[in-house]
């Protein structure tokens, strides 16, 4: 089928509402993101300037600026939760695809934010630290912080370009060609916006009427707007698809407002007058909203058709799953009622598919195995030996280790096997009469042939212990005479144990007796 699908559970809100809520939440988030970035850059710049002019001991404007960072970043984080929640609902597949394609960077965001927040906050709240330490912490904090929007833009650029997803995978999980430039310009464009936002905020809140500081903020704003004009052109030029006229009109509103802000700031600088909050606040909204709306409209153009497709694919897929949903629920109910805390359940669930429900080695999977599962019903062994096999498994066979059950459960399993099969019990006598001559012959064959692997004492030679599977230790592990006879006669498939059917029956019984007499 090879079609990408949406998640199958219903969305809690209708799509248009999710879409609009997402836009509003995103605008609020971005506003504080810009204040956070702007404040951080400004504070660092002011620190350098204060240091250069040797005024680090005086009242520190850079610290005052940085103290607002705690507020901005806290609000940016909390206001970021809503768009994160909403975008994961309304653009589930594009967003998660962007995230998973760049997963390591996305996870890194958390570490970067922690480093940056803790460093900036301690710089803001400690009264005085050595300038070199301040410089060092400041650089780390700033670099970490500025990397974050780069990653966000990366994920969003990817989410908005579904036709590039496969290329990104083929390119080794990297952006390719034109999209790389688009990403870079968009990122730098945001930093420009942060300069403007930071400058505007601190113009009104931390300059405290100092004309020199105010002028500095005005220059800062001018620099930001000019940076944005240049990068805006580049962002526009590298857009993957040329936008329609309606989008261009919204964008022009934003650009015109920005131009007006620039003009107001120029006027304020040249005539040495103050900016009026009543004018500037609405103007900032008039810049931010159309600009983000432009972004939103471009995103909608590329993603809304895909969304429709994903949803209709999901409907088809859901239909094909329909007949499986009841059986799945029935299985689930069975699972809930199966408690792996007793030997019986553990045997039935974890052992019987190979060893068989009757412990005769004839489980449903037995025919798939070259080394047949042992008929546990025929085993007579010590608890210690069984325990060891259960914990370590048997190399060279399918028998895995069962260390995922703790000690008590393993013992309960052994107890269950003992109560059912007498696995810890005594061996019965040999069911056939063995003539002394046959026994003599058997003794000779054992020491000449069998002992080369099994060892004279039946514990297995050191070499044979390294076989896969290794020889068993006959002093602690034996089989009922009939089963032992069968193995001696036919061999054990998939192991070093070959058939001795050429020996007379009496001699074979004699071998069984030798082996079983070794049991302690």
């Amino acid at each position: 089928m090879n079609k990408l699908i949406d998640l199958l559970l219903q969305k809690p809100l209708p799509d248009p509402l999710l879409h609009d809520l997402l836009f509003v939440a995103f605008v609020l988030h971005m506003l504080f993101v810009l204040f956070t970035l702007g404040t951080a850059m400004l504070a660092f710049y002011l620190f350098l300037e204060t240091w250069r002019s040797g005024k680090l001991q005086e009242s520190r404007w850079d610290k005052e600026v940085l103290r607002t960072f705690t507020v901005h970043k806290s609000l940016a984080v909390v206001l970021g939760v809503a768009p994160l929640l909403l975008i994961q609902l309304s653009l589930t597949v594009p967003f998660f695809t962007g995230v998973t394609l760049f997963a390591p960077y996305w996870i890194l965001v958390i570490i970067l934010l922690i480093i940056s927040f803790l460093s900036f906050d301690s710089l803001a709240h400690r009264i005085n630290i050595r300038p070199y330490l301040h410089l060092f912490l400041g650089i780390i904090a700033l670099v970490a912080l500025l990397a974050v929007p780069a990653i966000f833009v990366l994920v969003l650029v990817t989410a908005e370009s579904p036709d590039q997803w496969t290329n990104i995978v083929k390119n080794g999980y990297r952006l390719n060609g034109a999209l790389t430039f688009h990403w870079l310009f968009r990122y730098l464009h945001i930093l420009g916006a942060a300069l403007v936002a930071g400058g505007t905020f601190h113009y009104f809140f931390t300059t405290k009427g100092d004309p020199e500081k105010k002028t500095k903020m005005l220059h800062w704003i001018v620099a930001g707007i000019l940076e944005q004009f240049v990068l805006g052109v580049l962002v526009f030029a590298t857009l993957p698809k040329k936008p329609d006229y309606d989008i261009v009109i919204v964008m022009i509103v934003g650009i015109a407002s920005a131009a007006f802000l620039l003009w107001s700031v120029f006027k304020a600088i040249s005539k040495n007058i103050s900016l009026k909050a009543k004018l500037i606040y609405p103007l900032v909204v008039l810049i931010v909203v159309p600009m983000l709306l432009t972004r939103q409209l471009i995103q909608d153009k590329s993603l809304l058709p895909l969304k429709k497709e994903l949803e209709s694919n999901a409907a088809v897929y859901e239909k094909s799953l329909k007949s499986y949903s009841q059986p799945a629920l029935d299985n689930y109910k069975n699972d809930l009622n199966t408690v792996y805390d007793n030997g019986k359940t553990i045997f039935e669930k974890s052992c019987s598919f190979c060893h068989g429900p009757h412990a005769d080695g004839k489980g449903v999977e037995a025919s798939n195995l070259t080394v047949p599962p042992e008929a546990i019903a025929s085993v007579r062994a010590t608890r210690g030996y069984l325990y060891k096999i259960l914990i370590e498994g048997v190399p060279g066979t399918a028998m895995p280790y069962f260390g995922f059950y703790e000690k008590g459960k393993i013992n309960r399993l052994i107890d269950f096997l003992d109560s059912r099969l007498d696995i810890l019990g005594k061996l019965p006598p040999i069911p056939a009469a063995i003539s002394p001559a046959d026994q003599e012959k058997a003794n000779q064959i054992f020491s000449e042939n069998c002992a080369t692997c099994h060892g004279k004492d039946g514990r297995g030679t050191p070499e044979a212990k390294k076989f896969e599977p290794p020889t068993p230790d006959f002093t602690v592990y034996n089989l009922l005479p009939e089963r032992a006879f069968e193995i001696i006669s036919n061999g054990y498939p998939g192991t070093m144990m070959v058939s001795f059917s050429n020996l007379p029956e009496g001699v074979r019984w004699g071998l069984v007796k030798i082996v079983n007499d070794m049991k302690r």
Binding site: M1, N2, L4, L9, P12, T70, V71, K73, S74, V77, V78, L79, V81, L84, L85, Q88, V93, T97, V99, T100, A103, P104, W106, I107, I110, L113, F117, D121, H125, W165, S320, L321, S325, A328, L329, Y332, L336, N337, T338, V339, Y340, K349, C354, E365, N368, L369, I391, G396, T397, A398, M399, P400, Y401, G403, F404, E406, K407, G408, E468, G494
Partner: protein, 452 residues
């Protein structure tokens, strides 16, 4: 699969989510709820008794608390979300659809929390005299909001283990107010105030304080520690009495892991020892013995952190093999989808596999099937290494085990794919375990060309 697969190298996905989540829970329970409540309490006592000591203690403790709560607490909280978006996108995406409203309300509460804590911090000097009362309300108001957050998140976390009727009726309310909701809430609050009082005691014991005030405050925090230790213990017992036996029986193993599973006595010894340390600290604090409390307070904090880690580990582990009970396995395959793939094939229903371009190559198929079925828990060469798990098994043995994972190991999901795909994966795993195949980029499951 709907999304490209990524695995964190060495640590694996579960451990990465856990490291961040445990740090978050230690901070939000111990500090955001616990310490800030103690600060509000101290400020209140200072006001009642007109005591400079209590007032200054509260005010000075708020400074580092604010930095940790807004810098580390909230970021690691969002971090859980970030990390699961990358490592378990389908799981978190589905959870958001089931629990949109609690999450949305939680967002509103979180926003108010941030505003209140900032106000609380920045108005400490300004709101004095007549406005002091309002400032104290702000502190307690913050604690209340933090508790509401805990309520909202507890409903969601409880659902993952005790879904009650949700798989059948898909009812939000039965999912949210599931059987383990109330005991878990009490357990979390017990831990929150318990750890909060121990953290606060540590600050009290290791900073410069008036000796008389220190003894007086120590007695109070010791009292709080003891009461909430008891609440914590009782609700632990209550909590495990409502967890279905199917899951509960894996609790001890979840803590011991296969490294220590044959020494269950470690589990009981360490847990009892930890509780004794906490109880002992509470008593010495109650009796105002400063020097012994100093000795015990750090072990008490460490044991509280261990208990938080242990509880989250148990809760997250024993729900295996399910991520969303009755709907999604821990490897992000739906229960019904698993049955569908068994008949119709996993690879041909996978968009990202079809985009990979080398769909005829069996090694590519094997590695993708591994990524899809196993990689949410097993790494190649890191924690819970699949090569360690399969070492010594024959190829046909791996094939048989793969077909029975779900019943053989009660917390493993079934293999989701056809018989042919099961064969492909077992061959891949056998060759991987024997060193024949080497991966060059384990996090994206790419193998070395020419070795296939």
């Amino acid at each position: 699969m709907e999304f490209p697969i990524f695995q964190v190298p060495y640590l694996g996905n579960g451990m990465t989510i856990a490291l961040n989540a445990v740090l978050h829970l230690i901070i939000v329970q111990g500090i955001t709820i616990g310490v800030i409540s103690m600060i509000a309490l101290a400020e209140y006592i200072g006001f009642k008794k007109s005591s400079e000591h209590w007032e200054n203690f509260a005010k000075r403790l708020l400074n580092p608390t604010l930095i940790i709560v807004t810098g580390l607490g909230s970021v690691t909280g969002v971090g859980i979300w970030f990390i699961t978006s990358a490592l378990s996108p389908k799981g978190i995406g589905l959870m958001l659809r089931i629990f949109f409203w609690p999450w949305f309300v939680e967002w509103l509460v979180f926003a108010v929390e941030v505003i209140v804590i900032l106000l609380y911090y920045f108005t400490w000097e300004k709101w004095s005299g007549l406005k002091k009362k309002q400032h104290i309300y702000l502190g307690f108001g913050y604690s209340l909001l933090a508790i509401i957050s805990a309520v909202l998140i507890t409903g969601i976390l409880g659902f993952m283990l005790t879904s009650d009727g949700w798989p059948w009726n898909r009812s939000f309310w039965s999912a949210f107010f599931n059987p383990s909701f109330t005991p878990q809430l009490f357990l979390r609050l017990g831990i929150a105030f318990g750890l909060g009082s121990v953290f606060t005691s540590a600050y009290l014991l290791f900073t410069r304080q008036d000796p008389m005030f220190r003894k007086e405050a120590l007695r109070l925090f010791g009292k709080v520690a003891l009461v909430f230790l008891l609440i914590g213990l009782l609700s632990t017992w209550w909590y495990f009495s409502v967890v279905p036996s199917r899951f509960k029986t894996h609790a001890v193993f979840s803590v011991l892991t296969s490294h220590f599973s044959q020494h269950p006595e470690f589990f009981w010894f360490l847990n009892i020892f930890g509780v004794l340390i906490l109880a002992l600290f509470s008593f010495t604090a109650l009796t105002r013995s400063v020097s012994i409390s100093r000795l015990l307070v750090i072990p008490a904090i460490l044991f509280y952190c261990c208990f938080i880690t242990e509880y989250e580990r148990v809760r997250e582990f024993i729900r295996g093999p399910f991520l969303l009970p009755g709907y999604l396995y821990s490897n992000q395959v739906q229960l019904d989808e698993s049955l569908f793939w068994k008949e119709n094939g996993a690879l041909k229903n996978s968009y990202w596999y079809s985009q990979a371009g080398n769909s005829a190559d069996t090694t590519a198929q094997g590695v993708y099937l591994f990524a899809q079925n196993c990689s949410s828990c097993h790494t190649i060469g890191g924690l819970n290494d699949i090569k360690d798990r399969l070492r010594g098994r024959t190829e046909d043995g791996i094939y048989v085990i793969l077909g029975n994972t779900h019943q053989m190991v009660p917390f493993m999901p079934p293999f989701s794919g056809t018989e042919a795909e099961r064969r492909v994966l077992s061959t891949f795993l056998y060759r991987l375990t024997s060193g024949e195949i080497k991966l060059k980029a384990p996090s994206r499951f790419m193998f070395q060309k020419g070795k296939s």
